[in-house]
Assembly symmetry: C2
């Protein structure tokens, strides 16, 4: 089955993922500079900050300053991440500047839920019921069910597609009880276990069960397969991806300190555009922002196009 | 069309590609150590040296010492690279230790032939006629037609599939005139222009024209798409790949000094094995050799599994 979309929405998460994991410190001004530069590349969704505990994630202690500081560009949706009522309240302060929507965030791996959230899946379902109600009470829509570790888990090993289906069912039950209108599923390869075959299998099951529900993929390049996985996703009709400029980010789980981060936005854009799938992104402009990101973090980033340049740049040179 | 093979042959070129481009100097002993370690991983084809001009490629000035120095493992084919009569003669000295076969090496891009070889395609065809005859006179079989820049070129831009077909026809004409028995085609993405779609198109044309000729792919990860391209190749029935441990190598063409090298052997093995395609390689052993390669060159290599570990290692840990 191939079911190629004509366009995809790319949700840029470089600032949030990158500055969460970089040893830094990265100045607030540099964070703002990156967010503003990304908005000039044609990207329409940029995750600009993380409202998490500064004790746990010191790199985002200045979330308020970053969000207050950047000048928004019309037509661009700026988002943020939070995990609890305190984070939501911090985000709601910027309601007029940020696109604030909620997520029912579950995990297909009991082992990961225990290690990462220190609770069972059942306890997490209860927590998500409360959080979903809290969002709706605050007038915040909850259009998304997210499933972490949907393709495998460092703590639990392989994850059966049936487990992903059952986790999505749990999410839909939470949504129904709370009255949330789910508009898409987000499947995350949190620890880099996905392969093209696994993408085909899991997405085949999910699409078989919910044929009309749009699917977003959140891929990590932990084992170098992220672009191949994105390609498999495109062929299964995926229309939305999270990614990070330059491949910013990393893998904080299970002793992989030097592991790669998210799928690199430039490589994703190259893949899509060369297949005739529209992203709206100016790749050469994005590569320049990748180079800026590399300067900001002060070390080489995994994104290859930063160092190789785009095909279009060489096409123009060859034609000249 | 999917036409998945049950097994693939991997031709490891890490020593040859890597030590050709690393600023080094890398000691002869380290080169020998890497060649010997690779042979213990289950790889059956290892390109151990390059008999090229030490003036142009100083990293291989010690080719004779490396080939003389390593202890061969039974069942492993050790190969070398050369470009002219002098190189062939240097290789023939090690006829009992190396697997010596010739190649009709052409390029689908006139622009690249001019820039890289300083001659026209027509002149290159003449040169290959002489070289093929020379190989056969020396009792060296010529089973391979290689086409460089088969998926695009930094100097010429996109390459039409018809150009690849016509280049292969030129190669077959050379083979016929000389009496060489061609056993496979090798298509090289010399400058990292391939995309999964381009792989499908070029291989579709080649397989349509010569349905029974085995195809080998030589992929570079210049723009991060190598694993996706390998996956597309597997689906088109490709049964042989060149690759380099740790992603050793680089791109010496058109000002891309920091660009990535060849497709990484570990990632290729992971991709194949997770699809049930047999490689014969012990991935965990290979990852250890990748770490050795990283120590030898003294900087981080692009291969992600060196830093993330294999899925099987995590599976064992999760099951324990």
């Amino acid at each position: 089955m191939t079911d190629l979309p004509t366009h995809v929405d790319i949700h840029e998460e470089g600032p949030r993922e990158g500055f969460q994991i970089e040893p830094g410190p990265i100045s607030t001004a540099d964070k703002i500079k990156l967010v503003e530069a990304l908005a000039e590349t044609g990207l329409h969704h940029i995750q600009a900050a993380s409202f998490v505990s500064p004790r746990i994630v010191p790199g985002w202690a200045d979330a308020e300053d970053v969000v207050a500081g950047f000048t928004p560009k019309e037509g661009v949706h700026y988002t943020a991440l939070w995990f609890n009522a305190n984070g939501l309240n911090r985000a709601l302060v910027f309601r007029n500047k940020l696109t604030i929507t909620g997520s029912i965030a579950l995990t297909a791996s009991e082992g990961f839920t225990q290690k990462n959230l220190h609770r069972s899946h059942a306890e997490n379902v209860e927590a998500m019921k409360k959080q979903t109600a809290l969002h709706l009470e605050n007038g915040v829509e909850v259009p998304r069910i997210g499933v972490m570790a949907a393709f495998g888990c460092n703590y639990q090993g392989d994850i059966a597609p049936a487990q992903v289906i059952s986790t999505l069912e749990d999410g839909l039950a939470i949504a129904e009880e709370a009255g949330a209108d789910i508009k898409y599923f987000s499947l995350a390869d949190t620890m880099g276990w996905a392969t093209p075959l696994r993408i085909e299998r899991v997405l085949g099951e999910v699409r078989g069960r919910w044929p009309d529900m749009p699917i977003s993929l959140h891929l990590h390049d932990t084992r170098g397969l992220a672009v191949a996985n994105a390609h498999a996703g495109l062929k299964m009709g995926v229309t939305q991806f999270d990614s990070t400029v330059g491949g910013l980010g990393g893998c904080p789980f299970a002793g992989q300190p030097k592991a790669a981060g998210n799928i690199c936005t430039e490589e994703l854009v190259l893949l899509c555009e060369e297949m005739g799938i529209h992203t709206g992104v100016d790749l050469d402009a994005l590569i320049e922002v990748g180079r800026m990101a590399e300067e900001i973090v002060g070390h080489q980033l995994p994104g290859e196009l930063i160092h190789a340049g785009s095909l279009d740049a060489f096409r123009r040179r060859a034609a000249a």
